[in-house]
Amino acid sequence: MTLKELKAGQSAVIEAVGGEGALRQHFLDMGVIPGAEVTMLKLAPMGDPMELQIHGYSLTLRLADADRIEITPLSEKSAVAAQKKKKSKSHHPGLGEGGIFHAKGDGDPLPDDEQLTFALVGNQNCGKTTLFNRLTGSNQHVGNFPGVTVDRKDGPIKGYPNTLVTDLPGIYSMSPYSSEEIVSRNFVLDNKPRAIINIVDAMNIERNLYLTMQLLEMNIPMVVALNMMDEVSGNGGSVDINSMEQLLGVPVVPISASKNKGVDELIDHALHIAHYQERPLQQDLCDERHKNGAVHRCLHGIIALIDDHAKSAGIPVRFAASKLVEGDKLILRQLQLDENEQEMLEHIISQMEKERGLDRSAAVADMRFAFIRRICDETVIKPHESKETIRSRRIDKLLTGKFTAIPAFIAIMILVFLLTFNVIGAWLQGLLENGVDLLTKAADSALVELGINETIHSLVIDGIFAGVGSVLSFLPVIVTLFFFLSLLEDSGYIARVAFVMDKLLRKIGLSGRSIVPLLIGFGCTVPAVMSTRTLPSERDRKMTILLTPFVSCTAKLPIYAFFVSAFFPKRGGLIMAGLYILGILMGIVTALLYRKTIFRGEAVPFVMELPNYRMPSFRNVVQLLWEKAKDFLQRAFSVILIATVVVWFMQNFDFGFNMVKDSENSILASVAGLLEPVFRPVGLGNWRIVTSLITGFMAKESVVSTLEVLFGGNVGAALTTAGAASLLVFSLLYTPCVAAIAAVKRELGKKWAFTMVIFQCTVAWAAALVIKFICLCLGVN
């Protein structure tokens, strides 16, 4: 029987995990290992994926992947009986108290003036960002890890300027499955931080300690921060800190990052182990008594075999050995083993597989989980089902319920959009626009008073103030949208949206998580592109970014409103809705095309944790908003300022660099004139229309204002109804504005941004031609 066949509420024991490669390794790393108990919770509203309970947390899995996992159903009795265990009581520190692990002041200390660097490592949803904010305060620098678009945050610990904590992405293991895992692994191996702060969610301790096991193998000074201990003790659980310290061989500090408890003790321990370079005492995590000691013998055999290679490659030998058993090709390449050694390695592993009765990856995962089980049996009294879990289950009845999930999702998104684009964001945008207007007027009169040259006056007012000001007015909308999105993300709802929508999006080659950026695209393409950073796969991220321009943003609304009122006053609603639907349909067709050509294959597997719903931290939300605002402002005053000045120059000068009185003689008009024949077949062969479309490249709103200026308010006479229809379709689909292109360029690079502009223009032109043809066939002229 396979996991796919398990009914809701039934439990089973995993017998074998099928599949191959990185995906299978990811299953194992997430705790889906032979012998683990799993309970099926429910199916997503569309029947796929499924939600499971394993090692005390919720995991989602597609049915196709679940079909590869063999199980034996479990009766309820045995499941309950297995949970009853007694713990011996011992004295140990509580939340906010220091442990007794250290004989402080020993070891080989680093020089006092040496910077202490820390890597903050932990699973996703374990409170890592909250702890990072607690450790560093507002003194953070946001950047990128080299070569990948994975956010990197650094900052010194508050009160210790000669320290630097790097917040590594949330990961489940050190296997090279996702770019986050590769980045984290390379950071620890190459940058060699002085110490690791490993944050562990004490409510999900078994799965979180899996990463701890791998970090211990790195042989770098480490302190374990047991987060959410307030929830553990609040729900009747407890952890024997001293015993856990002894078993792990590193200091363990109980903390509550959200309540700022235990963080000072954590800092003390972290500084101490980093300064005195106290490495983990325990690295031999393979018990020689466990299952005939096959894995133990195998790992120690490999350690002896590769010791010299690991030393010369600068990789901790224990870590290298376990990765070789798992079949990690990157480590194998770095070690540069010769042919004999590789052959011997294969023999050792094959013998272990034979003796252990499990394949190599499963055997290593089982070894780690066996060690974790021993630790948990000896030190952890599991909390009863927490208030948070019960609350989450109740909320999920509505938000992921079979008949309520999609209506609830639509209602929440409508509310977010209404508040962003109509109420809060729009109000703030109005305020900022008024502010920019006042400033522009003040600057205008000041320039007049100073008797400034007319050209410079025009550059400052019509160019810089108008251009940067109009882009700047997007800031409140973007900040408000990100405010709501971070609330949804931090509360745990976005993970549910992905769970609910996965089946639908898989049909066009994307995974459930892509729904969020696509929806944001209805508001503004810039934050939509920025929000794709949360997508785990590079392929999905690229594809989602390239599809966002098909989702009509709000800046195009004035264009629709203008032409609909002028040409189709009686069918306004129908035309507007039709345009939105056309955009979505074109996006679907393009996605299917991408799937068959440049983005072949399937979307990433949907192996994802569903965290409990939590109240988002005000501090985290404010910090995120500040980062987004800063990022946008930086861009507004760099790329957009340059582009504004260039367009102003082209609009006001001719090729002889003389200022023109009539914009018909400007460089822009000449360029537009060159493009005029291209637009003639689609009914837009007029330099004024072409110019307005070019200015729409700067900001979509300026299409209408340019048309007004160039046609003197008589655009109706210059266009036919069929021309207006094709102009509407062209505006819907052609290249997004320069701010969006800059965002795409930053995420995917110059080549993709340029390709996207060309592709969108081509698609828009072809669609406009088809619309014109349809209009002519219908007798509309």
């Binding site: 400034i452 040259n453 400052v460």
Partner: protein
């Protein structure tokens, strides 16, 4: 051209210079210090 014209032009030129430098820095060129393994100041760092 009066003195104010010159001051404004100098300010705009300085602003454009800073904007170009910042843009190049964001591209990982020009403004890149070359010490990417420890810097990461430029957001499109690819080294």
């Amino acid at each position: 051209m009066n003195i104010y014209d010159i001051i404004i032009l100098v300010c705009i030129a300085a602003g454009l210079f800073l904007a170009v430098r910042s843009t190049l820095k964001q591209k990982g060129k020009g403004g890149c210090c070359g010490n990417c393994s420890t810097c990461h100041q430029c957001k499109s760092c690819t080294k």
